[in-house]
């Protein structure tokens, strides 16, 4: 395909090939094609918008530098997701203490909302409860849950991204759902959602 004919709808292979040949604008199309997906994968891992913003930029910088290493053995988006998940996992491990403190503070807020009786959860409380529920998952389980539930990836694709077995990923997803269930049950307000 001629360089001028490239756009956001061009295939990944066309964009990669053109970029490797020196067409910088091809990488801009890759960015525009994947920026939302990468942002949300990272955001659902780290939960904080500013961290997600910074990490998304880092993911694309890494992609810019390493795109020549992509051998096409797997789909390009799994390659992109792999970078995004690895950066998010590293970030979570590095900032474990900070997240624990933040989580304690937000837990206090959720406890205080538990006291409000007979009121349906408003969307802000639901958002906070969801954040805390996701935060309660161990990092690896969080990654599997996000990739399966939000990104709708197959277990084969998740196993490829996580470098783990398919069976292990399926069990991980089930245990993540059970852990979320346990967390939500421990918050009184969640019962109101169930019955409403």
């Amino acid at each position: 395909m001629a360089e001028n004919n490239l756009d956001i709808n061009s295939t990944d292979d066309e964009l990669i090939e053109s970029f490797i040949k020196g067409n910088q604008s091809a990488f801009n199309f890759i960015v525009r094609k994947y920026q939302k997906k990468v942002y949300w994968v990272v955001r659902k891992m780290v939960l904080d918008h500013d961290d997600a913003d910074d990490l998304t930029q880092e993911v694309f910088l890494k992609l810019y530098r390493s795109i020549g290493d992509f051998r096409g053995e797997s789909k390009f988006f799994t390659y992109v997701y792999k970078i995004a998940i690895n950066y998010s996992l590293n970030h979570l491990v590095k900032n474990k203490k900070m997240y624990k403190r933040k989580s304690d503070l937000e837990d206090e807020f959720i406890m205080s909302t538990d006291k409000i009786a007979d009121e349906e959860l408003n969307s802000k409380e639901k958002t906070l409860l969801l954040e805390e529920a996701i935060r309660s998952l161990p990092e690896q389980q969080r990654a599997v849950f996000n990739l399966r539930y939000y990104e709708n990836l197959t277990y084969d694709e998740i196993a490829n991204i996580m470098n783990k077995s398919v069976g292990g990923m399926k069990a991980n997803y089930f245990h993540a759902i059970k852990k979320l269930e346990k967390f939500l049950k421990s918050h009184k307000k969640y019962d109101l959602v169930e019955t409403s």
Binding site: H49, D53, F60, T127, I177, E181, V193
Partner: protein
Amino acid sequence: MNTKYTKEDIIHSLPDYVSDNIEDSELIKEIENVINTDNEVKNEFIEISNTMNFLNSADLEHPGENYFNNLSVKINERIHENLNPGSILDRLSLLWKILIPAFSVLLISFLFLSNRNSDNTEFTKTDETKKQISIADNKDDEKKGLSSD
């Protein structure tokens, strides 16, 4: 129960069954069969359904569409910054940032040391003068002594 799937397989497939993510029609049939016959699996199904209902109804705060319009610009800037870490002028200005304070420190040290040295010379000169005066005094005394003799 069909021997192809264990009870554990069925239970582990419940989240995908609830979110309609199973393509294997045989597995779907088997899950439905077990839900209707096994109370433990039925309870598990109800609890997982409740959890998934909550997950479907809640979402994280969205940053807004404008954010994504600016994101690609920020990404390109980050790439540019990392691949071209400053022009020659930028690098020169960085050099000056180091050189000027270093030069100032050297200059102050030099002035301080040279000042101290000149003070020492002054002392030495004064001592020398005092010595010369005392020698001259001694000579005068000697002369006076001789003349009195």
